[in-house]
Structure formats: C-alpha cells, structure tokens
C-alpha cells in the first residue's frame, strides 16, 4: 500500500518526471532529512557505502558553509554486474545523492541518466537506467513528503 501511494505521488510529480536533475526540498531540518534519506535508501533495496562530509572539509579549510554531504549507495551484485559489462560507467558508480541544508530546510539532488543514455544501446543497461531513475525518484519523494 505504501509503495502504491508513493507511486501515485510520483505519477503526479512533474518536476521529478520531467527534469534532467532530480531535486526536492524537504521542510525537515538537515539531521532529520538525512536520517529519512538513509532509511529511504534502504527501503529501495540499496546499501549506503559512504557519506562524504563536504562541509567538514570546507570549514576545516576556513570556509563558511552549512551542512553539505554526499551519500553514496548501491547494490553490490548490481555494481559488479554493471561495471563488468560497462567499465566506462565506473566513474558514475556507486550512485549518489547530494544533500545540503538551506535555511532550516534541506535540499536533495541527484542526477538523471539523460547525459549517459545517448552513448549506450544495450536494452538491459537502458532498463537499468530506468530502474535507477525510478528508485532515486522514490527515495527523494519519500524524503520530500516526510514530516
């Protein structure tokens, strides 16, 4: 039921459906949004491989910034299968979502695969791009609507 409701939300979410970048605003503060994001990634069947704390490096270097993190995630078997068959996709793997604080709220951003599609013809891979885009949209939408 929960999945059906999310799908219904996605179907009526033109931003997520139409744009080259998938971007949402959560009205949750950063820590809560990050927590929901991590949970949401797990609900889509992925594992988080690493979180890059961009803001920590910046502030240690003397620059002022609010929270800014990159969350890397994937599925081990899928990562091996895709990278074995298409090594030139390795620089784009694992998948990632950027998450940053903005005035008490949180923005989340991920890339579509529009910029990669013209270079591949394998139906399996194009289907994989579809699956990843769908999963990323689901992940982001869950964070967007979370209260």
């Amino acid at each position: 039921m929960k999945r059906f409701l999310l799908l219904a939300l996605l179907l009526v979410s033109p931003l997520l459906a139409a744009q080259d970048l998938f971007m949402v605003r959560s009205q949750l503060p950063f820590p809560e949004a990050m927590s929901v994001l991590q949970q949401s990634i797990g609900e889509s069947g992925f594992h988080i491989s690493r979180v890059q704390r961009v803001d920590i490096g910046l502030t240690k270097s003397g620059y002022k910034t609010d929270k800014y993190r990159i969350v890397f995630f994937g599925d081990l078997d899928e990562l091996h299968a895709v990278s074995d068959r298409h090594p030139d996709l390795i620089p784009s793997l694992p998948l990632k979502i950027a998450i940053f604080a903005e005035n008490g709220e949180t923005l989340l951003l991920a890339s579509s695969f529009k910029h990669l599609r013209p270079f591949y013809t394998s139906p399996d891979l194009l289907q994989k791009f579809d699956q990843w885009e769908s999963a990323i949209r689901e992940i982001l939408e869950r964070v967007r609507v979370a209260e």
Partner: protein
Amino acid sequence: MVFTLLPLSAVAVAGPGEGAMLYRQNCAVCHGVDGDGGVGIPLNLPDFLAVASDDYLRNTLRDGRPGRVMPAFANLSDAEVEAIIGYIRSWSGQDAPVYHDRSLHGDAQRGRRLYEKNCTACHGDRGQGGTGTGVTFSRPREAPVMAPALDNPGFQDSVSDAMLKATLLRGRKGTPMPSIAALGLQEKDADDLVAYLRTLKMESISADSKPLEPVILYESEYDLEQTLENLKQAVVGRNFRVIREQYLDQGLAAEGKEDKHRIILYFCNFAFLNDALAIDPRVGLFLPCRITLIETDHGVQVMSINPKNLSRLFNNSELDRYCEQMHDLYAEIMEDATL
C-alpha cells in the same frame, strides 16, 4: 493518507488549491515553499509582485532562463501554469499589473551611459547579471540576491518595456535594486535605460546539444601501483589534496573481499570547491573530485566523468565554463600519471 492523494490525482485539471500543490512540486525546491528564494530568486517580495505581470510569469515559466538555472516548464499544461501564477499572486493579495505591449522610445545611447554609471556594478557591463544562483542561506555571499541577467533571451522575451520601466521607477525592497529616483534619475531616464536594455544580447549560450563523451579515459603505461602513485603526485602537483583512496565496492562488499583491481582516488582543492559552490550550490553531484583506476588483463585504465557532459544537466552557463576547467584539469592529471 488516501484523502491526501485524492486532490493530487486531479492535477490534470488545475483548479483552486491546486496552484499551491503545483507550486510545491515544481517551484518550491528552488524558490522556497513560501517564495523566500533559495537556488532561485525570491518570488514573494511585494515590489516584485507589484510589477510582475501575469504575462511575465507565464512566459518565464514557459521559456525559463537559458543558461541561468531556471528551466523551461514545457511539461505543464496551460491550466497548471495559470494555477501556479494564481498561487504566487495570492501572496500579495493584489491584482496583477497589466501593461501595454508598446515599445518605449528612449535614447539608447544615453541609456547606455546611464546604465554604465548606475547598473553595471550589479548587472554586469553587458547585462550578464550577477554570479551564482538566486540566493543562498548556506554560505556567505557578496549580494543577498543574484542580480538577474538582463541580456538573457528568456528574460528579454518575457518582460515588456512597460514592466521594465515600472521596475526601474519602483526599485525592489529586499534586494540591492533601488528606484532610479533614489539615484537622482527622472522618468525620462527610465525610458532611455529601457531603450538601452533592449539592445542587450547574450554573448554566448551553448546551443550545441550534441552529446559530449561521458568519460575521460587514459591507458596507463605503468602498473596499478605505480599509476596510483603517479596520480597522487599529479594531484598534489596541481594544489589538490588527496582525501581518500578506496576500492570501488568498498562499503558494499565485506571487508577484505573488495575488488582490489578497481580503485578510486578522491581529491579536493577547497578553495576551488568553495568557488564552485558559489557558482551553483548543486555542484555536489561533481563531488568529490575523483579519478578511478581499473586494472584488466590488458593493462591499467584511468578514467573520470567528463564534467562538461554532466554540466549539461544544470542549465548554468557559468557552471559550464567552470566544468571546462575541470575537464582540462582531469585530463592533465591523468596524462601526467599515465604517460
């Protein structure tokens, strides 16, 4: 939960109340839930709503701002566009201004002199606008709101002469934009300024939609270990700091079971990064700088994303220029490490 879905499923026929929902889905991510701005400029400023006509908002939604982040929302129906405009309009509680579409006949030469004296500091010498995106609450910046690009074709096609003049006469509280009266100018000066603004043409905008190769790839003459060492030296030699070295599947594979033939080198120059974030806070998708090494039976390959390819998704000409630098930097580092 079902009750919240019912109105959502009725998007196809936009009506009262749907403007708010459509705004949240399409606009709030950049302009803020209440129009306070963010990656996009603030929309809720009383002076903006007082001078922005519905035609202006409509054309802006439809055409966007090529090369200036704001996308063209071709996917929205006419009813949906009107619903969004109605919602934005509701913030002021006032009727939309209506302008005639006649051209004003000012003296463009004189307008140019006035522009150079009064406007270039914020809008640039060619009307190219300020640096960065709308506003940001994430880090310090020079101006509270990015000055719009007056030469942008999306802006030029959306705004009428009369609306330009109204903006000049009124100014915009909450931004650095004063009324021209505050600058000691008269109404006739506004006509001249508008005449000059109409001569501004964007210098370059990437009209080339041909896809760019997604990967920068070099074959190494060295083994994996030596290539990695060369790579680190090349990175440091360009004032970047190596921040992490890991296997591609690290964090997903069990510890000790990772594929040792695929190594990622992450590196960063925080001054470079800080500049990039000032241009576009969405650059996280390029981060951290990364080059991957792959060992096969045939040798060692070194590869990275092509930043110019990824940048195409951002509709940000300034970022495109930055990504050209990033592309060259990656290529130089990889060439140094492999040859």
